[in-house]
């Protein structure tokens, strides 16, 4: 048991900002608490009842006071709102160069996968100083990915992807908690985040088992599931080419456009006929139940690896 501290360690770029806002709020709160407690205590003593029959003169009007104690707190709260919103907004938008890690929550464990194919359970190793983006989903109920030292938390919801990001600033070992109640062993759905020096991280990545990078696993799955029978890279198949599809805007049959993000790709694998690309027939079978959430993530990563803009006549596409 360490020394008693009132704030957790500051181990991400967000942490100091959140704590500063906390100190501001604490200062405001202490001021008003002292003001109210002090006033009550002083009035209670100063104006205590001295005779059972006394009757005080009530003051007549307090309009100025009413306006003052409406406007001043309101101004203060607007500062709190703006400050908090600014932090929240930056927490919501991961930088483009962030290192991607995929997270699948299930009762009651965290499964994490690095781009390079390294998988972990209830442990996350990351290098210090690099922004890390987590794309997360759940296999069953709602969980929540919470690292107090980073001051970040985001729910992990079944049926969709959610994203959180942070940039660790300090090497060390930090708590990872599930913060959304998820059933019997909710309090055991915990783990550790290891923030390492870049070199140590590289070593760690190389060590131990590795089944190839995430994209490679995805490529293999792409073959195993026979996706490549229809999705030819040169658009000659019955289905659209997937080269460069990620991040592009896809025209749908029946009008409408959609941005091909992770959520769209996931939906197109699990419920292929939900949104049909213009000019194609709904012939793809559903892969719901045939491929796990992790498998979907690998496929998504593989499709992302096929480039983000339409490539010249395909060469290295799947065959």
């Amino acid at each position: 048991m360490g020394r008693l501290s009132f704030v957790p360690e500051q181990a991400s770029t967000f942490a100091p900002g959140v704590d500063h806002l906390l100190y501001f709020l604490l200062a405001v709160s202490v001021f008003f608490t002292v003001l109210i407690f002090g006033a009550i205590f002083y009035f209670a003593v100063r104006f205590r009842r001295r005779s059972e029959r006394e009757l005080p003169h009530p003051p007549h009007s307090g309009l100025t006071l009413e306006i003052l104690w409406t406007v001043i707190p309101f101004g203060l709260t607007m500062v709190m709102f703006t400050w908090g919103a600014k932090i929240f907004f930056s927490e919501s938008r991961p930088p483009d160069d962030a290192m991607q890690i995929y997270v699948v929550g299930k009762q009651w464990m965290w499964k994490l996968e690095h781009m390079e194919g390294k998988r972990e359970i209830n442990e996350l190793h990351i290098p210090v100083g690099r922004p890390v983006k987590l794309t997360m989903t759940s296999e069953d109920v709602i969980h929540s990915f919470f690292v107090p030292a980073f001051r970040t938390k985001e729910d992990v919801v079944p049926g969709k992807y959610s994203v959180t990001w942070f940039q660790p600033t300090k090497t060390g070992k930090y708590h990872l908690f599930c913060a959304e109640y998820c059933g019997t062993n909710h309090s055991r759905m915990i783990g550790w985040v290891y923030v390492m020096e870049a070199a140590d991280y590289a070593n760690w990545l190389r060590g131990g088992q590795s089944g190839g990078s995430l994209a490679e696993s995805g490529a293999k799955l792409f073959q195993d599931l026979a996706c490549s029978n229809c999705h030819h890279s040169d658009n000659s198949g019955r289905c659209p080419s997937l080269v460069g599809v990620f991040g592009s805007t896809v025209k749908l049959s029946g009008g409408g456009m959609v941005t091909a993000d992770e959520g769209y790709l996931r939906e197109s694998i699990l419920q292929p006929n939900a949104k049909i690309v213009a000019g194609y027939q709904p012939v793809m079978p559903t892969f719901q139940g045939l491929v796990t959430e992790e498998g979907v993530l690998q496929l998504v990563e593989y499709i992302k690896s096929l480039g983000t803009k339409p490539a010249a006549p395909a060469s290295g596409g799947p065959r």
């Binding site: 806002l21 109210i36 407690f37």
Partner: protein, 541 residues
């Protein structure tokens, strides 16, 4: 002085006897006492769960009960305390008893509906008790889907039915209050002569009527999803669990104001009577109750900041949440200003009032922390939130409830409670409460998630402090229970107006006659006008 003859006059307690005269009564005062007995029972059931939770959390490994049991304990603690104690507590007991009297009415507008709503609470409570005895429920009081609809193997359906039925009890109480305030006021009792307790109960009733049905339909959908396997929130079908959260919090956030608005009304009464001054800024306090009732409906999304709700919705809900802080602040400032140049008595109800203002201030200010997006992302679903809402609901509502109970006890029962013991209990509760819940703010900011059966050992010191506080708090709550019962037989006989209060409820004997007033009162004064109430006046100030 009270003569023996006066005590033998007929009043609502002795006008008829027997179990039937209670179970079939249409008298709002008797129904209030039925409610009092019911919610007290549920308070101690919920308290027993809390006790077990606190004992369990003494050690990080969680040796006392299994995880399944622990999860059921906090779920049933929440459900019992919120739906069967806090929501009916002040409106259905003190409100039921005194709202008609304060406006000079013989009864509520619909006495039979009033009795029906008590029965609904009891029936709902029996369903919930059945679920608890049969094996309990482990979804958390929030019933988040898909855990509650698909994954939990506990008694969700019975509990849901219980809450559904209790919800209608709450709706009918609210409906009755609204109609009563509109249609049953005595001659001369204009809106701005209404005691603030009436205003705040009126505002509460609006929330009950407008919010509770949404909870009801949400529970129906959870019930259908579990029982008939239809899917509204089921992600496997393409449903959205976050939609459940919207529907749930549309009621459950305003429900916080159902719990605390009546408490604010009690405090407005007490702070005036025990400083013998009209409430400072009467209209501001009255309108702030209405403002809280309205604005309280615009902020529910602040429970969803990390739920995958859209960023923009998060911004709007955070922004709106700060608006609801303002009327609460106005109330605190006005209560404090009421004390200025008053004639302040240290009677027990006033001690509870001091306690309320202090604890509510802390609870309200920490509300600013959780309304702030940047901080809420870190502290939501941690003990910080637990501490915050216990400061509001326990530090706020229960303090006010006990304060009001002491204040009106002489009117309700015709007996005085023992003053010395009562003051002691107020002190014990205040200290015990702070010791229990203040450490939880720190726990939460340090990152201790809520609903954890086992926890990391660095949190133990604060948990031990909290449990120590809880044992003090438990003693504090048992004391009034004992001396109130004692006072029913041995307490001093109460005069009609022991506090020198000015409300209409004090202008009739203690306990009141069956129809409250021997003749319909005609109101000619503003509320809280103490001239003419105090025997020989000595003006000060």
């Amino acid at each position: 002085m009270i003569t023996a003859a006066e005590q033998e006059r007929e009043h609502y307690l002795n006008e008829s006897y027997g179990i039937k005269s209670w179970l079939l009564t249409k008298d709002h005062k008797r129904i209030a006492l039925l409610y009092l007995a019911t919610v007290t029972l549920f308070f101690f059931i919920g308290g027993a769960f809390a006790t077990m939770i606190r004992i369990e959390l003494l050690t990080p490994q969680g040796g006392l009960v299994s995880s399944e049991t622990y999860n059921k304990l906090f779920t049933m603690h929440g459900i019992t305390m919120i739906f069967f104690f806090l929501i009916p507590s002040i409106p259905a007991t003190l409100g039921n008893f005194f709202l008609p009297m304060m406006i000079g009415a013989r009864d509520l507008a619909f006495p039979r509906v009033n009795l029906l709503s008590w029965y609904l609470l009891v029936i709902g409570g029996l369903f919930a008790l059945f679920a608890m005895l049969a094996g309990g429920v482990d979804t958390g009081w929030t019933f988040y889907t898909p855990y509650s609809t698909t994954y939990s193997n506990t008694w969700v359906i019975a509990t849901a039915i219980g809450i559904f039925i209790a919800g209608f009890s709450s709706i009918l109480t609210g409906l009755n209050f609204i109609v009563t305030v509109h249609r049953m006021r005595a001659p001369g009792m204009t809106w701005f002569r209404l005691p603030l307790f009436v205003w705040s109960n009126y505002a509460t009733a609006l929330i009950q009527v407008l919010g509770t049905p949404v909870l009801a339909v949400t529970i129906v959908l959870v019930f259908c999803e579990r029982f008939f396997h239809i899917g509204i929130f089921d992600p496997a079908l393409g449903g959205d669990p976050v939609l459940f959260q919207h529907l749930f919090w549309f009621y459950s956030h305003p429900a916080v104001y159902i719990m605390v608005l009546p408490a604010m009304g009690v405090i407005s009464e007490l702070v005036s009577v025990f400083s013998r001054k009209t409430v400072f800024g009467y209209k501001f306090v009255a309108f702030s109750s209405m403002a809280i009732a309205v604005l309280g409906f615009l902020v529910w999304g602040h429970h969803l900041f990390v739920s995958t709700q859209s960023v923009y919705a998060g911004l709007v809900f955070s922004f709106l949440s700060y608006f609801v802080a303002i009327p609460s602040a106005i109330k605190v400032f006005n209560w404090t200003a009421t004390l200025y140049k008053g004639s302040i008595s240290y009677a027990t109800p006033m001690l509870y009032t001091f306690g309320f203002i202090g604890l509510f201030t802390i609870g309200g200010l920490t509300g600013l922390f959780v309304a702030s997006l940047g901080i809420d992302v870190h502290v939501t679903d941690t003990y910080f939130v637990i501490a915050h809402f216990h400061y509001i609901m326990v530090g706020g509502t229960i303090m006010a409830y006990l304060g009001g109970l002491h204040y009106w006890w002489p009117k309700m029962t015709g007996r005085m409670y023992p003053e010395l013991w009562a003051r002691l209990s107020a002190l014990v509760i205040f200290l015990g409460f702070n010791l229990t819940f203040f450490p939880q703010f720190i726990l939460g900011y340090l990152g201790m998630p809520r609903r954890y059966h086992t926890y990391s050992s660095e949190f133990q010191v604060l948990h031990v402090l909290s449990t120590a506080g809880a044992s003090v708090l438990a003693v504090g709550y048992l004391m009034p229970m004992i001396y109130f019962i004692w006072s029913l037989r041995y307490g001093k006989l109460a005069p009609a107006n022991p506090w020198g209060a000015s409300g209409l409820e004090w202008k009739t004997p203690s306990p009141p006659p069956l129809h409250n007033f021997d003749e319909t009162p005609i109101v000619t004064q503003e509320a809280y006008d103490y001239r003419g109430v105090i025997g020989e006046e000595v003006e000060v100030g």
